[in-house]
Subunit: 242 residues, 2 copies
Amino acid sequence: MDGSFEPIERAPAYMKVFRAIEEKISSGALKDGAHLPTEADLCAQFGVTRSTVREGLRLLEQAGLIVRGPAKKFFIKRPAASDIAAAASKSFALGGVTFSEVWDALATMYPEAARLAAMRLSKARIGELEKSGDALKAARDDDHEATVEGAVAFFQLIAKGLDNRVMLAMLQSLNLMIGESLRHVIARAPKAKDRILDAQRKLVEAFKARDGDVAADWMTKHIADLKRGYEVAKVDMDAAIL
Amino acid sequence: MDGSFEPIERAPAYMKVFRAIEEKISSGALKDGAHLPTEADLCAQFGVTRSTVREGLRLLEQAGLIVRGPAKKFFIKRPAASDIAAAASKSFALGGVTFSEVWDALATMYPEAARLAAMRLSKARIGELEKSGDALKAARDDDHEATVEGAVAFFQLIAKGLDNRVMLAMLQSLNLMIGESLRHVIARAPKAKDRILDAQRKLVEAFKARDGDVAADWMTKHIADLKRGYEVAKVDMDAAIL
DNA sequence: TTAATCCTATTGTCGGACAATAGCAATATG
DNA sequence: CATATTGCTATTGTCCGACAATAGGATTAA
């Protein structure tokens, strides 16, 4: 006989609200850009009170599935690569990952990204890379903020040019972390701007020539060089990034 | 003159509650594993009502910064790599990334991961890899679930062995996505198990020999082979993963 | 026609209330 | 004495009702 019972489904109501709406989003029943019904409507539909609905909405909000539109109304938004990257890098920081872990990942992934980029970057994207370099060149040598932005923008353009949202999100989360940390050491790294510009120039040449090996090679050097800046600045690579 | 005013800080109270607690966590004032005060306490401390506090808690909950302990009490938890990976892969799925994007990322990143693994895997970890292979070999050939688990477990062990939480999270999120999708096609991929086992064997050999080039090479083949399974199964690689 | 004003729908916050539940203490039972 | 049951208490989950704040649209004034 089987007179025993299954454990009954016992999740808080706000969680069920969250899951229900999440389901409707992932199934496409609630399309990207559509407005969420008002809280009062949701109360009626789910048969719960506004407090409960609102707790569910907070979950959706933090999950990045809904964003505030005009008039505070929520509308549906499927998470973009940049959202994932931002959330991930924040979590990494909170999780206490170290500089060396980030740089290690950077050194592992970006050369291959560069190799791929050599094959895949559009002419327009390569043009953007050159323009970004020109902008950096035009900046004053002691404008460290411009140097950091120029370095990060270059990585960013490569990541975007791969035309792959998964890799974009991953590389972008690395970009966010190195950008934040570069800012703190750039002032102490002599000649950083010149060396960055040189590497970028070589990389663009490789991209133009569609030479993946050379691109990967220069990216390796570029990253090693950036890392050296950290060592010169005597940053403890085993400390957590903030 | 500058008689103009800055835009005043106007964030909802529940958001401020969220940020305040998040701050205390990231600054270390609330240590990992510590219990959060009761809702009533938080009300008193922040000077807001329980509804407001609870909405803030929902944000923290979804952000993965607090988890339910026994007795429903919350305690602090810094996000681990696996949390980040799970959140990211979920977001990728909701964002509608395609099979080919995932496989593209896989093919780009894992060979380099394997190269690194050849240098970095501990003997114990390599032993685990072999044991995982033995377990897969022992499974029945038509036990597709075991095949999928064996394939994913192998990737998982390599990712863990890199001893880098950033890469672990990234590779793990890929693992989650391919695992989920492999499950749907494995039955239609003939001889999949044998070919997987063969690649795994070659990879372990390369790891033992600490030969990064060979490891990267076999990983490339292994992944290409898995991908071919998809093509044989006539999966639309441009469709969104679910 | 444009600018100021009112109106309305919706969100943000409040306060209180009570049921549900987990953990613990007290009690009963053998 | 050991164990099982019961009751107690603190805390969370949910509900209700209320009101201020605000954004947008409608309406009126210029």
